[in-house]
C-alpha cells in the first residue's frame, strides 16, 4: 500500500518514470503471455479434445474439433458410465472421501493439538515428537503393512477410509495446528475460564474461532492431497466395488487405445472441476499458506 501511494505522488509530479514503468510492463505482459501459454496449452488441448469424436482424438490430438469431428457433449454423456466402472460413482466416492476425511482431520487434530500444547505433559510432548517424525517418513515405508491391516479390520470401504486418512494425516495437521496455537495468547482462555467456561465450550466458542486461518490452510492442504491421492486408496479400498477418480483414470490409462478416448478426456475435464472451484474460492489462502509454510521451513 505504501509503495503504491509513493508512485502516485511521483507520477503526479513528473511523468517520466510513470511512462517507462508502463513500457516495461507492456513488454513484460507480451513476453509472459507467450510463456504462460505454455502452461495452459496442455489443459486447453485436453479441453478441446474432450469435444472431439473419439476416433479423431488418437489420430491427431492437435487438430481442433470442427464439422463432423465436433460432437458437443456426447463424450461427457458417455463418460459418466463407460468402461468397466462408472465414472459418476468414482466421482461420488472421491467427493465423499475427501470431504469427510478433511472435516474429520480438521476437527480431531485441532482438538488434539490444543490439548497437546496446553497440557504439556510428557505424553503430549512424546506424541508431538512422533508426529514430527512421521512427516519425514515416506508412504512407501508403511504402505504394505497399512493396507493389509486396513483390509483385515474391514476399513476397505469409502465409509471407513476417512479413519485411515485421519491417522495418516495427523502428523501434518497436528504440527500445523500446534505451531499456531503456541502463538496464541493464553490470557483470552484464562479470562474465559474465570468466567466459568469449561474445556469443551472453551474449545468450540473461544479457541476454534481463533484457529480460522490455520484451519483454512490445513483444510486446503488435506483436501487437495486426499482428492489427488492415488496409492493409499488403491491399496486400501476394495477395488472391485470402490474406486476414486485417480484410480479410475489410471485404469483408463492402463487400457489406453482400447478405451473410448473422447470419453476418457471428458472424465479428465470433469475431475478438474472441483479442484478449480476450490482454487477460485480459496485462491488467496492457498498462496498465503504456501508462502508462510516455506518461510517457517
Amino acid at each position: 500500500m505504501k509503495s503504491k501511494a509513493d508512485t502516485n505522488i511521483m507520477s503526479s509530479e513528473k511523468k517520466v518514470p510513470d511512462v517507462t514503468y508502463v513500457k516495461v510492463s507492456a513488454v513484460k505482459i507480451l513476453a509472459f503471455s507467450f510463456i504462460s501459454l505454455l502452461w495452459v496449452v496442455p489443459i486447453v488441448i485436453t479441453f478441446y479434445n474432450s469435444f472431439k469424436q473419439s476416433g479423431k482424438v488418437s489420430s491427431d490430438i492437435f487438430s481442433l474439433p470442427f464439422g463432423d469431428s465436433f460432437v458437443f457433449f456426447e463424450n461427457y454423456g458417455k463418460a459418466l458410465t463407460f468402461g468397466n466402472y462408472p465414472f459418476f460413482l468414482s466421482f461420488a466416492y472421491s467427493l465423499f472421501i475427501s470431504i469427510v476425511s478433511t472435516a474429520l482431520i480438521l476437527l480431531c487434530c485441532s482438538m488434539a493439538a490444543w490439548y497437546i500444547v496446553r497440557v504439556g505433559s510428557i505424553f503430549s510432548k512424546a506424541f508431538y515428537g512422533i508426529c514430527l517424525f512421521s512427516l519425514a517418513v515416506p508412504f512407501q515405508m508403511v504402505m504394505f503393512t497399512l493396507s493389509s491391516n486396513a483390509s483385515r479390520f474391514g476399513l476397505d470401504t469409502p465409509f471407513t477410509i476417512p479413519l485411515v486418512y485421519l491417522g495418516y494425516g495427523t502428523g501434518m495437521a497436528v504440527f500445523m495446528f500446534a505451531g499456531f496455537i503456541k502463538g496464541l495468547p493464553l490470557e483470552i482462555e484464562e479470562a474465559a475460564m474465570i468466567d466459568g467456561c469449561g474445556p469443551i465450550r472453551m474449545f468450540f466458542l473461544v479457541v476454534f474461532p481463533m484457529l480460522r486461518p490455520v484451519t483454512i490452510s490445513v483444510g486446503i492442504l488435506e483436501l487437495m492431497w486426499i482428492w489427488n491421492d492415488y496409492l493409499l486408496p488403491y491399496l486400501v479400498l476394495d477395488l472391485t466395488r470402490y474406486r476414486t477418480i485417480p484410480i479410475h483414470v489410471q485404469y483408463l490409462k492402463g487400457s489406453y487405445g482400447s478405451v473410448d478416448m473422447g470419453a476418457s478426456l471428458a472424465v479428465i475435464m470433469m475431475s478438474l472441476v472441483p479442484v478449480m472451484i476450490v482454487y477460485i474460492l480459496c485462491q488467496k489462502h492457498i498462496v498465503k499458506g504456501i508462502a508462510a509454510g516455506a518461510v517457517k521451513g
Binding site: 503504491k4 513484460k28 505482459i29 509472459f32 510463456i35 504462460s36 495452459v40 496442455p42 485436453t46 492437435f62 488434539a112 490444543w114 490439548y115 497437546i116 496446553r118 497440557v119 504439556g120 505433559s121 506424541f127 512422533i130 512421521s134 519425514a136 517418513v137 515416506p138 508412504f139 512407501q140 515405508m141 504402505m143 504394505f144 503393512t145 493389509s148 491391516n149 479390520f153 479413519l163 485411515v164 485421519l166 491417522g167 495418516y168 495427523t170 503456541k182 493464553l186 482462555e189 484464562e190 469449561g198 474445556p199 489427488n228 492415488y230 496409492l231 477418480i245 485417480p246 489410471q250 490409462k253 478426456l265 479442484v275 476450490v278 498462496v287 504456501i290 508462502a291 518461510v295 521451513g297
Partner: protein
C-alpha cells in the same frame, strides 16, 4: 517444545477430557502410522506373504535388496532426476518470480496460470502429458515409451511444468520480503539492474533457495504417481543374463513393483522401503539442520552487529 501451559485447575479439567480431545487421533494415528511403521521395520527382516505369517530371516532381505540391479538402477536415475529437476524447476521459477514479483496488470492471471498445474493430481497429469508427448512424437513416427531418454525427459518436463508454479510462489514471497531501503541504497550507489539482481537481491534470497532446493530434492525422491502414470517404468530393457530392467523406474516405483513381482519378493521390497526411508529421512534431517544453522547464524550476526 515451548508449551504455554495453562493453570492447574484448567489443566486438570482438560486432562479429564483426554478421551474426547486426543484419544480418537491417538488411536487412528497408532493404527495408520505407529503400528504399520513398527511392523514394516520388523518385516524387513522376515520372509512373509502377509504380516501374520512372517518368518525371521535376518539380514538376507537387505542383502537381496542391495544385490538387486534394478534397485541400483532406480537409485542412479532417481539421483540424476533429482539433480536435473532441481535445476529445471528452480532456475525458471526464480526468474519468473523475479519478473512477477511486482504488481502490474494481469499479474495475477500469469501467476494463476503458472500455479494451476499444482492443483492437479499426478495420475491425471500423467494421462494428459502421455497423450501430448505421444501426439508430438507421432510426427516422428515414434512414441514416448519407445526410448528411455524420452521417458526420462518426459518426467522431467512434466514435473517442471507442475512444480515451477509452487516454487514461484515461495520465491515471490521472499523477493517481497527484501527490505526496500537496501534496494534504494543500491540504486543511489548507481547499481545496474543486473548488479542489483545478482549482488543485492540474490544473496538475500539464499534461505529460500535452500528451502526450495530441498523441497524439489525430497519431491523428486518421493516421486511416484507421475512416474507410474506417464511411463510406468517402460521401456523394458533385457539384460544379457535375461533379467528385465524397467529403464525409467524411479525408486518409489521400484519398491512398489518389487512387491508386485511375487510373494518371495515381499521381504526384499520391505527392506528396500526401509533403505528408502533412511535416505528420505536423512534429506529431511539435513534440511532441518541446515536451515536451523542459518537462522542461528543470522541471530548471532544480528547481535554482534
Amino acid at each position: 517444545m515451548n508449551t504455554q501451559a495453562m493453570n492447574k485447575n484448567m489443566r486438570k479439567s482438560l486432562q479429564r477430557l483426554f478421551p474426547l480431545f486426543v484419544l480418537p487421533v491417538v488411536l487412528c494415528f497408532t493404527f495408520s502410522f505407529i503400528i504399520p511403521f513398527i511392523q514394516a521395520f520388523y518385516l524387513s527382516f522376515c520372509d512373509f506373504f502377509i504380516p501374520r505369517d512372517a518368518e525371521w530371516v535376518g539380514l538376507s532381505n537387505y542383502r537381496l535388496a542391495l544385490l538387486d540391479l534394478s534397485f541400483w538402477h532406480s537409485f542412479v536415475i532417481t539421483f540424476f532426476f533429482a539433480i536435473v529437476s532441481i535445476l529445471t524447476i528452480n532456475i525458471p521459477a526464480y526468474f519468473i518470480a523475479y519478473f512477477l514479483k511486482d504488481k502490474f496488470k494481469c499479474v495475477s492471471l500469469f501467476r494463476t496460470s503458472f500455479f494451476i498445474p499444482n492443483l492437479i493430481g499426478g495420475v491425471v497429469l500423467g494421462y494428459i502429458w502421455s497423450m501430448i508427448f505421444d501426439g508430438l512424437l507421432s510426427f516422428f513416427g515414434t512414441y514416448l515409451t519407445s526410448n528411455a531418454i524420452f521417458g526420462f525427459f518426459g518426467i522431467v518436463i512434466l514435473v517442471a511444468w507442475q512444480q515451477i508454479g509452487y516454487m514461484m510462489i515461495i520465491y515471490i514471497a521472499a523477493f517481497n520480503a527484501i527490505p526496500e531501503d537496501m534496494l534504494e541504497a543500491a540504486e543511489i550507489d548507481g547499481a545496474t539492474a543486473a548488479q542489483k539482481l545478482f549482488r543485492v537481491i540474490t544473496p538475500n534470497m539464499l534461505p529460500s533457495i535452500t528451502i526450495c532446493t530441498f523441497l524439489t530434492l525430497t519431491n523428486s525422491f518421493k516421486m511416484f504417481d507421475q512416474n507410474l502414470a506417464l511411463t510406468g517404468g517402460n521401456p523394458i530393457h533385457t539384460l544379457e543374463n535375461g533379467m528385465q530392467l524397467k529403464t525409467t523406474e524411479l525408486l518409489a516405483l521400484n519398491i512398489y513393483s518389487t512387491y508386485q513381482i511375487n510373494r518371495n519378493w515381499h521381504g526384499t521390497a520391505q527392506a528396500k522401503a526401509v533403505i528408502f526411508t533412511l535416505l528420505v529421512g536423512s534429506l529431511a534431517l539435513a534440511q532441518t539442520l541446515l536451515t536451523k544453522e542459518k537462522k542461528e547464524a543470522k541471530i548471532k550476526n544480528g547481535e554482534t552487529k
